[in-house]
Symmetry: C2
Subunit: 289 residues, 2 copies
């Protein structure tokens, strides 16, 4: 396919490279130009503006930091909206607020543009390997058109519901991960202070009702005190903030998410925002008397 790609960051760049490898033609836009040159050397075309990236392509992909960035590029001043042609497939793979996905999608509908929200999980390694998990919201027909692109970037892609559902799923996922890290930290602190051998405890409970992906992947980091990322605290905070904002507009009580964000905020304020999110264990070490 002929694809425009906006946002060549840590995630966007390897995703775009995997599209090239799979034989798609790419037109790329990024604010910082070094990475654009890298992509051009690999066979991509350079777009000088984000509007240009959206012109004369079958599909446009954005991979940007947060809701305001996507909104600005798509429906802001000199946004893609102004130049979008009927029949364009627009896929936002950023992790943003579900309600912002819906707002942008409704506006683009006026121009005959179909939108999918398709945030990913799997981190930079998953992006490089092309093994991302892609959570998609939108229409079945648009999803089908996007499949060749998803196949190049991910190893799983599920259409979960209407536009916005992809981001709701991502928030759900990252709320659960944060809560699971918090209670794991709390429980391991109990073991540690009681003088129990943490490795043996984990071996005893790993395959039972307390077992989880978080326990498997994060407890070794906690035991070794190795908080190299991984998934950075600052990024996780963004998701938790978006979850709380979404929950607040839906009228949901979210005490665990609140607590987890508060703990991450405290770590961020100590300059640990770039550490792996399992560093939440620090909070329990600090508060132990």
């Amino acid at each position: 396919m002929n694809v425009g790609f906006i946002g060549l960051g840590i995630m966007g760049k390897p995703m775009a490279q995997n599209l090239l490898k799979a034989g798609h033609e790419l037109k790329v836009f990024n604010r910082s130009k070094a990475v654009v040159k890298e992509m051009v050397a690999l066979g991509a075309k350079e777009a000088l503006t984000h509007q240009e990236a959206a012109m004369g392509v079958d599909a446009l992909i954005t991979m940007l930091p947060d809701s305001p960035d996507v909104k600005n590029v798509m429906i802001g001043e000199n946004g893609v909206y102004d130049v979008a042609k009927e029949g364009l497939l627009y896929i936002d793979m950023s992790s943003i607020l579900p309600e912002v996905s819906q707002e942008i999608g409704e506006k683009l509908k006026e121009k005959g543009v179909d939108m999918l929200d398709a945030p990913v999980s799997g981190g930079d390694l998953g992006a490089i390997k092309g093994t991302l998990a892609i959570m998609v919201g939108g229409e079945e027909e648009a999803f089908s058109r996007a499949l060749p692109l998803f196949q190049a970037m991910g190893s799983s892609y599920v259409l979960v519901g209407p536009l916005g559902s992809g981001n709701t799923t991502k928030l759900t996922n990252n709320m659960i991960v944060a809560g699971n890290i918090a209670i794991l930290s709390e429980a391991l602190m109990l073991c540690k202070k009681s003088g129990t051998d943490l490795e043996k405890v984990l071996d005893a409970i790993r395959f039972g009702s307390a077992g989880s992906a978080v326990l498997d992947t994060k407890s070794p980091k906690i035991l070794q005190g190795d908080y190299s990322p991984g998934f950075k605290i600052d990024l996780h905070m963004k998701d938790l903030r978006n979850a709380l904002q979404t929950g607040s507009s839906l009228g949901i009580h979210m005490p665990i998410t609140d607590l987890a964000l508060e703990m991450y905020q405290s770590l961020h304020d100590q300059g640990l925002g770039e550490k792996d999110h399992s560093a939440l264990f620090h909070i329990y070490e600090e508060k132990a008397t």
Copy 2:
């Protein structure tokens, strides 16, 4: 082996039956006598007091509701302590406070009795099938002596550390389960209120970083609103209370455990203490506006 067994409740009865099946000789004591008759019909001897259950046996097992029960039977008035003979192996399989295990163990040491704390997980089904996970604290040598008994009752048995560690491990396990249920409920409520298909969301996240035993086993119950136990709220509350008491004496900050117990307390107060612990989702339904 020649085994005394005190406490033939929902868990204790099938555990004792599995010991009989494995060829051990049993002397049983229980306050309610109907179950004692049942066990006698299967070949067990009846002990008329808990002291009698401990006399002339190689090993004594207790499976009782909580710390005060075990303390009373073992070192209270007319307790086993008064009649215990040197060389007796004492295994407490109840889920109690780690510090109470240690207190009882130290006292029994005076009499030359070795104690293990060996709480289990796996529920009544695991007890019936003999597939319990047994978390053991105590000395290596006592653990070795107990192995033939553990093999008859469980499919996994791990010595995690000194006396009390078995119960610390159990508390750790059940803290994690409670926290994982709470954040799962919170996240599923977000999905539900945003109109996303819960089954599809779960399919999308199940094998990723949010995956857990709790997600696999409890989300179907939440989706169907089927809160038949399972693991009862009242029992889980006991573990959380013991965890908080232990954490408090160790000087640990335990906000998630606090929150989970508060939610369970509210369900208990509504008469739902006999429901499965996944009914915690109710709290989120109640508090949604």
